[in-house]
Every structure is written in C-alpha cells, then in structure tokens.
Symmetry: C2
Subunit: 209 residues, 2 copies
C-alpha cells in the first residue's frame, strides 16, 4: 500500500494512469522512466521519484511493466471500484455530466439526477427522469450512492452539500463557484470553470510572444 | 504592473477575485489580511505575501480597499477585457459551455460553435446555429476571436488545436483528455474532468474518518 503521497503527486496520478492506458492500447508492455518521462514532459528522475513514492515499482535497467503499473496506480486511486453518483441540479452542467460517456466507462455511474424546479422534474435525461429534490433523502437511504455532483447555483450548494453529507455521502464533485465547508472526512474536488477561464486570461495576457 | 508571479499564486488569483467580489456585494469596503485570510482559509501572512507578489497593496494597520484590490487583480488577470470564444464540438460539453450564463457575465462571450457531424450542423444552441467545421478558417479570418474551447474527442483535438493556432488563436480551453502540444506562445488551460473524478476517488479511498 502507498504511504504518504503529496498533493502534487496525487494530482499527477491521473496523468500517469492515462498515459499508461494509452501505452497499453498501443501494445507497449515495458517502459523506462526515461521513455515515460519523454512522453509526459517530465524528467526521468521525476518519474522515478513519483513512482517510488507510491510503492517502488520497476527494476534497475529494466523499466516498468506497463500493465502492472497501470493496475497499481488504478488501485491506489480506487478507480478499480465502481462509484455511484447522484447529480444535484439538472441544468446545463448537470445534464452534460449525466450524458457524458466517459464517466461510466471509467466506473463513475450516474444513478439519479435531481432538481427543485417543477419545469425540470420529470424531464428525461438519457434513461433517467429528473427527480424532485424533495425525494433526495429517501433515495439516498434506499440506494448505495457515494458521490454527489453539485451542479447547483451557489446560493443552495452549501446547504445541499451539508444535507447529503448528513445522509452519509462522503464524495463531492463540486461545480458551484464556492469553497464548500464540510467536515474533514468529506472528500471534495472542485471544478471551478469560471476560475479556469480567468487563469487562461492571465496566461494570454502575460505570455511572451 | 506585476513582476514574476508563481504558478501557485496565479492559481489562487481567481479565488481572491471571487472573494473580493463577494465582499463588495456584501458592502464591505476595507478588509485586513487577517480577515481575508480567515474567509479564504489562508493565514494572514500568506495573504500578505500573495498580495505583495503582485504589487504591494494596502497600508500597515489599515488593510486593503476591497474594490481597489478587486480591480487590480481583475486587471492583472485581464478579465477587465472582453474575450471572444469559439467552441469546437457541439456535444454535451460544448453545448453546456455555450449555454452557461456565467461565462458571458464574466466577459467570456461565445461567438460561434462548430462541429463536423452533419446531424449537429444547423442545430440551434441558444441563439447560435452550429456551423460546419469546414467554415472555421473563414470564420476566424473574418471575426475577432481569441479563445478556442476544445470540446472534442481526443482523436481530433490535437490537429484542430494546431489548425486554429495557425489561424492566429492563442488561447485554448481544453476539455479533451490529452496534453496539447502547441508552441510556447499559446496559453492553455486544461479541464480534465475524468482526472478530477479520479482524484476524488483517491481522496475518498484515503480520507481518515
């Protein structure tokens, strides 16, 4: 099992996983830290350091087994288990998440989608009908769900996050532009799209031609 | 003007900007580094360091003017200018970006949306009809556009990014799961949604109850 993994390495794990999946698809079975580094724009020593950090794989002068390393990283990230998500908010973002193919392909399955807007309740999104948010508690009690996708206005995101936390959900994928305050055992990943555009604007303004 | 700003500070700028906008909306005109830090879960000294880093605002014992600091950060990020975006790909993500209210409210206006799929060309997305990707070059030549939103399959994202770079676009907001290779004067921000879910899965697996 992995020991302490720094925040920076955690954020690089999905990129390793993606490149290793691509290599597998290309039929590559072994790769050196140098080869993996070139592919990912990292130095060989950075790759060795990162990989040592979660378990010391590979043998000197031999490199890594692509499939073993991919499986190992997948297991550390827990993406070899299925996750069941509920989407709170059936607006543009909520519907786009519900309709995307890649999430279920990677084991993140949308089980239900909720909204409070009477115009949206009952609306069909893929094979699901949008459910009344008033049914949320009952639904979570009766169904195994581990991730709540917050695709809500900022005005109600915090309160609903607390509610679903109280119902036992511990994973939060938050698209609302706020810093959620939740107890320490809640896992939160924020997707602040507006902030990404602001960073892009900064980079455009300050890039050297 | 700002001197060198580290990557870590750049990524915090939007959060400062958001909190300062909220403070303005709440009618707060002055705030200390301690007050701002408490609000953002930073220490006062971190706030002072960050803000010094882009220009040395505020007076000892007096704090910051909320509106001046907000304007200053907005100017550094270039979000006081309008940006015109084209969306490449009229799938779920492309349409969600086109339909979101918050981007134009923040000065990021979608000018056009393109796809290569004959079933999507001509489809109405908000007030825009999806245009044939074959019209892309002509469109960019005739219209001022500075950001391309890549909401495309991984198989064609790299090639299209190169094309629009050649047409003169330098800002790329990339939703495709790959590392774009573009010349150094291109500004790229990636939104790797799948990777965000993998990081969430990691945190759920390793969080201490």
């Amino acid at each position: 099992m992995a020991g302490y993994i720094s925040e920076a390495v955690i954020k690089r794990l999905p990129a390793y996983y993606r490149h290793l999946k691509e290599l597998e698809a290309e039929g590559v079975t072994q790769i050196s830290s140098k080869g993996l580094g070139e592919r990912m724009d990292f130095t060989a020593s950075q790759v060795r350091q990162d990989i040592n950090c979660f378990g010391g794989f590979g043998r000197q002068g031999y490199g890594y087994s692509v499939s073993e390393l991919r499986e190992h990283i997948g297991h550390i990230m827990g993406v070899d288990e299925r996750h069941r998500m509920i989407i709170l908010g059936a607006g543009n973002i909520g519907r786009a998440v519900a309709l995307a193919d890649s999430f279920p392909q990677n084991g993140f399955v949308t089980a239900a989608i909720f909204d409070s807007d009477p115009h949206k309740i009952g609306m069909q999104v893929d094979a699901m009908a949008v459910q009344d948010i008033a049914e949320l508690k009952r639904y979570v009690e009766e169904n195994a769900v581990d991730i709540a996708v917050l695709a809500l206005p900022v005005s109600c995101a915090q309160q609903l996050a607390h509610e679903v936390y109280d119902y036992g959900i511990r994973g939060f994928w938050n698209f609302a532009p706020l810093d959620l305050k939740l107890p320490k055992d809640a896992a939160v990943v924020n997707v602040h799209l507006d902030e990404g555009l602001e960073v892009l604007s900064f980079r455009m303004k300050h890039s050297q031609p």
